[in-house]
């Protein structure tokens, strides 16, 4: 059984039908990429999984449990952590406070240990721990958003365009960390417009096209697929 199963998901914004019954699954230990053009519905999909949006139809099942109607704040406790599009760090809170909020659901005694771990992953964050998050650069904010999500010790990490707006140097660094997160045993669902990068580290991938799943398969095969190359890899 898959760890995360999305079945026939329909989501609306008012009258706009954004997801037309999409289905996909993520198995424990995998890195699965969800790629697609701007406006395809990638963010909508992640928001619906973590309860920022409510589905009109279909189900989201995590570890065999139907979580479609679970209140948003209860979802992170199940082991699902979401790094939202645009990072959305709390800019008036310090770096350390942002990380502490990431561990909001965890017992007090465990927070210090996780904080230390995150600082080891992202040494820059330790240097800036008492700085307001709003004063960080874009790449540092992305690291903070990832660190914050890791503070809940998730079993699956959902990431929405972590490379957006970053310099190539930071993009490389962020992708290296995603691979490390995966190697450390965390399952990853990665949403990206940077399809080439995403497919190069993913095991499998799904292509989202205006609210429906188009192609799917092994990432290495999609990387060599002519139609995909044309549409998403700019070749």
């Amino acid at each position: 059984m898959a760890m995360l199963e999305v079945k026939d998901l329909h989501v609306y914004y008012g009258l706009i039908h954004a997801l037309h019954g999409i289905s996909f699954e993520v198995n424990e230990g995998e890195v699965v990429a969800l790629i697609g053009a701007n406006g395809a519905g990638k963010t909508t999909t992640l928001h619906t999984i973590t309860g920022l949006l409510q589905a009109k139809g279909g189900t989201v099942v995590f570890d065999g449990q139907d979580i479609t109607r679970k209140p948003g704040h209860a979802i992170v406790r199940l082991g699902i952590s979401h790094v939202p599009e645009g990072r959305r760090v709390f800019s008036n809170l310090t770096v350390a406070e942002n990380l502490q909020m990431g561990a909001y659901t965890r017992p007090k005694g465990e927070v210090a240990g996780s904080l230390e771990e995150v600082y080891e992953w992202f040494p820059r964050l330790r240097e800036r721990k008492n700085q307001a998050a709003g004063t960080l650069s874009g790449g540092e904010q992305q690291m903070l958003a990832m660190g914050r999500a890791m503070m809940s010790r998730p079993r699956i990490l959902l990431m929405d365009e972590p490379s957006m707006g970053l310099s190539p140097l930071f993009v490389g660094e962020i992708f290296k960390i995603i691979e490390k997160v995966s190697a450390a045993g965390t399952t990853v669902l990665l949403v990206e417009q940077n399809a080439k990068k995403a497919l190069s580290i993913a095991d499998r991938a799904y292509v989202l096209e205006t609210g429906t799943i188009g192609k799917s398969g092994k990432a290495s095969e999609l990387l060599n697929d002519d139609a995909i190359k044309k549409a998403y890899l700019g070749e």
């Binding site: 920022l52 704040h73 979802i75 979401h82 959305r88 709390f90 502490q100 909001y104 659901t105 914050r148």
Partner: protein
């Protein structure tokens, strides 16, 4: 001069305590709770009933007022504002004004329009030092305000709940992803604001003992002004705005004109907002898209 200054700080302390409720609710729920002033009035009546009808000691009266107002604030939010969480701001504003009249009319029904004479919870003593005259009520009011300010600042800056509150005020969605219940945080904010309103009500009625169903309106509006003056959403801003407003009001009354004092207060507000549109300590943030 010094007597007037202290009287002004004392009145301003009451405004500051009320303004904290406005500003915290605005910061978290992004709404102007115009019924907040009337919660003050309910607090006054609760303390009055406890001491006058039930013969309880003043401190028990304060406690009853705080408990009732806290519950009232949370209930108002649940019943009137929560269903409108995603409604346009104007609909929420009108609901809040409606709630304000509802509370005033309920008070009219329960306690009639006949003024009740509130007995100060700390008596009517005063101290005289040279030509400086300070009432006990003023001293207690200022002391209570200082304690509230320190406690609230520590709470919002140093505790997990307080940090979560600041996170919610910045980005509800991201806060929810952390596992923070936005609904519970909003309830907590209303609880704190309304509990503080009860304390403000008791202090207000101790200084100005005539209690009628509209007692909360004018101080409510002044405190709202103070919150805007200081920068709405900012806790230190509410404190600063409240105290400045009280001082300006008392000084205008003493040295310029008894009748025009309110006009002068608002004139100062307008000038400040022309120079600093976000208020004295408000952050100039652009609306998020």
């Amino acid at each position: 001069m010094i007597s007037n200054l202290i009287a002004g700080i004392s009145l301003g302390s009451i405004y500051a305590i009320i303004a904290l409720g406005y500003t915290m609710v605005y910061g978290i729920a992004k709404m102007l709770n115009f019924a907040h002033g009337d919660v003050i009035m309910v607090g006054g009546y609760m303390c009055f009933c406890a001491t006058f009808y039930l013969g309880l000691p003043p401190l028990a009266g304060v406690l009853l007022a705080v408990v009732v107002c806290t519950l009232l604030g949370v209930t108002i939010e649940r019943l009137a504002y929560k269903p409108l969480r995603s409604a346009p701001a104007l609909a929420v504003l009108i609901t809040a004004i409606g709630m304000s009249y509802f509370l005033q009319n309920a008070a009219l029904l329960l306690w009639t329009a006949n003024p009740k004479t509130f007995t100060s919870i700390v008596g009517y003593g005063s101290i005289q030092m040279g030509d400086v005259h300070i009432t006990h009520v003023a001293m207690v009011t200022i002391a209570v305000c200082v304690v509230i300010m320190v406690a609230l600042t520590l709470f919002t800056n140093k505790t997990k709940m307080g940090t979560a509150m600041r996170a919610v005020s910045e980005d509800k969605g991201a806060a929810q992803l952390m596992g923070i219940s936005v609904n519970r945080t909003i309830s907590l904010t209303f609880a704190i604001g309304s509990g503080l309103a009860a304390i403000a009500g008791v202090l207000l009625c101790s200084a100005y003992p005539m209690l009628v169903p509209t007692t909360g309106s004018m101080p409510g509006i002044k405190a709202f002004t103070a919150a805007v003056f200081g920068g709405i959403g900012s806790i230190p801003g509410a404190m600063l705005g409240g105290i400045l407003l009280g001082v300006i009001e008392i000084f205008s009354k003493a040295y310029i004109s008894q009748e025009l004092s309110d006009a002068i207060v608002f004139a100062v507000l307008i000038i400040v907002l022309l120079v600093k549109p976000a208020g004295l300590l408000g952050k100039q943030v652009s609306e998020k898209v």
